[in-house]
């Protein structure tokens, strides 16, 4: 592994973890698409800050971009609060307009400088190590690593300091207000963190990957755990796996690192979606199937109880009659009777079904329920 490869992986890793931390709250607060809006509209912030500062390398560009992220959030909420359009439409109206202004400004006034729309949208992590961070001519490593490192530390600090506030405001905004800390303040704090993280990250990996890294790992973690703290930790871990896995996928295919990382993130989500222990699709199907047999057995014992000791019990409680009495298919009937016998709910003699004591209890209980 060359030094550049190590550096790229380090940048990817730090970026992915930094994005995953606020991402968990975005998923829980149903604001996932705000990342999409912010990551696009920060382009306008960068362009405007560039006009003020006049250079592309200035850290003021990051400040301008982060401010524009907040402006986007404010605009979306102002528009939604007029009640004239839905929140979804408000997002869909604001960020394309801001992005359009940015593209036009670049085309008209900044075409000759290095403000490339392609690069902003798609990013090219492979070039990140070329931008060095140096003090007095002493090379301290890639600039992106420092930028994202600082942002990661800020996010960690914010999370540690305001964990309780974030948690309460996310799950119970009314309680948060009653306890005396403003949900609005928490909201804008979080949005500020998202903006700064998105700005730092998109410089290295492009705006679309920012969205992927902020949403996919937390969404995956959401399927794996019910505890907030564990969800955040799992998101960070999945982000890290995404970063390293994506890098080697890109290396193998000779393709875009950002694209490969997004693909890896999607693949990991797919695995969780299918195989998660409690919430995966297969677990869900298994549960539905079990419930179907469960329900059928209940119907069977209730049917038997209903006709027990009745004049027609001899006829109604025969296996052969169930097909007609309960309108079941032959194979299905056999399977249900088999399961009920194995559980000791009924016993079978000469084609006649009789409830055991356990079966009678079960039937009464399902009546009571």
């Amino acid at each position: 592994m060359s030094e550049a490869q190590l550096e790229i992986q380090a940048i990817a890793l730090v970026t992915a973890v930094a994005c995953a931390l606020p991402g968990a709250f975005l998923i829980l607060r149903r604001m996932a698409l705000m990342t999409d809006a912010i990551s696009h509209s920060i382009l306008l912030g960068i362009v405007l800050a560039f006009f003020v500062v006049g250079s592309v390398g200035s850290p003021l560009l990051i400040v301008g971009a982060a401010l524009m992220g907040i402006v986007t959030v404010v605009l979306v909420e102002t528009l939604a609060n007029t009640k004239r359009v839905g929140k979804d439409a408000a997002i869909g109206l604001v960020f394309p307009a801001l992005f359009s202004i940015a593209v036009i400004l670049i085309a008209r006034f900044a075409d000759d400088v290095h403000l490339d729309v392609d690069a902003v949208l798609l990013g090219e992590l492979a070039f990140a190590p070329f931008q060095r961070f140096a003090i007095n001519g002493y090379d301290l490593g890639p600039r992106a690593l420092w930028v994202m490192g600082v942002i990661l530390v800020l996010n960690l600090a914010g999370l540690a300091l305001f964990y309780k506030e974030l948690k309460v405001a996310t799950f119970d905004a009314a309680l948060a207000a009653a306890l005396g800390f403003s949900p609005i303040l928490v909201h804008y704090g979080l949005m500020g963190a998202v903006s700064v993280t998105a700005v730092g990250a998109f410089d290295a990996v492009g705006s679309v990957l920012v969205v992927a890294l902020m949403i996919a790992p937390p969404a995956t973690a959401y399927l794996l755990t019910d505890r907030l703290s564990r969800m955040i930790a799992t998101s960070a871990l999945i982000g890290a796996i995404t970063a390293i896995g994506g890098f080697w996928l890109a290396h193998w295919l000779d393709a875009s690192i950002a694209g490969s990382m997004a693909t890896t993130a999607g693949f990991i989500f797919g695995l969780a979606f299918l195989f998660a222990r409690d919430r995966g699709l297969f677990a869900l199907l298994r549960r539905r199937k079990r419930q179907r047999w469960e329900f059928a057995q209940e119907m069977l014992v209730v049917h038997l109880l209903h006709h027990e000791h009745g004049p027609d019990a001899e006829q109604e409680n025969r296996v052969a009659h169930l097909q007609e009495g309960l309108r079941w298919e032959g194979d299905f009937t056999e399977e249900v009777v088999g399961r009920a016998r194995r559980r000791g709910l009924v016993y079978l003699a000469d084609g006649l079904l009789t409830l055991t004591d356990a079966g009678r209890d079960h039937a009464r209980r399902s009546f009571a329920a």
Binding site: A32, L33, D36, G92, S100, V103, R108, Y222, A255, G259
Partner: protein
Amino acid sequence: MFELFTDYTLRTVALGAGILGIVSGVLGSFTVLRHQSLLGDAISHAALPGIVLAFLLTGSNQPLPLIVGAGVAGWLGTLLVRTIVRNTRIKNDGALGLVLSVFFGMGLMLLTYSQSRPDASQAGLDKFLFGQAAALLRNDVITIAILGGVAIVVVALFWKEFKLLSFDPEFGSALGFRMGTIDVLLTTLVVIAIVIGLQTVGVVLMSAMVVAPGAAARQWTDRLGVMVCLSALFGALSGVTGALLSSTGARLPTGPMVVLSASAIVLLSLLFAPNRGLVLDKLRSRRVPISTDPQGQAGL
């Protein structure tokens, strides 16, 4: 303005953008009403891997194969969003963001993979990303017109069903309509409206075209028929205005100009529409308490 009738390129571009505006305006009305405005964003991003795969498989950069590829991928994307929302506790926004970014990333990976191979020639793919209305050819406009025309005819045929779907799907099911199938049909039409526009205004900005005209039209009326027609009109107006403005030559890219024209219409509608307009609303709310309640007895 006169150039519209003499300049061949400009006429082609304006016509293409105008038709596009009509189609996305009609279908956008429904997405706005159904609170699915960001579905368009997801579809347009999700289309990228389909475009690249279609290009890799057919080796052609004619509009139709790429549009078909984009359509299939966009459609699969919406299907995935629906599957995720139905089977997990992840909500609509999370599922949309996930599909949008992962599909787009996959497209980017495939695109760079195809470019890294020696036999690569991928002209025409970039313009799907960012849109290049100025490069619209007569052939492209015909494709847009045919596909868009089909979409509008289908909307007319299923008008009643789409209306039910937008306002009261439960009632629709009770009447015996298969609302699930109708939902898929409408979504398919939205996919068509979006993929035919990708080439003109690009991935990022196409999503605005299925939101802005509908959101503007909603301010002027409470009737679906009027809203859809107005939305189509606003869409066409944005398309043609954007094309004309960008043709003034001062390095104004068409896609963003179209979107800004649409945004301007939205802003004007929000402010000045007769019933829902914010300006009139402000004026009314200032006058109301004085004129209707002279004795201060309204509360009784």
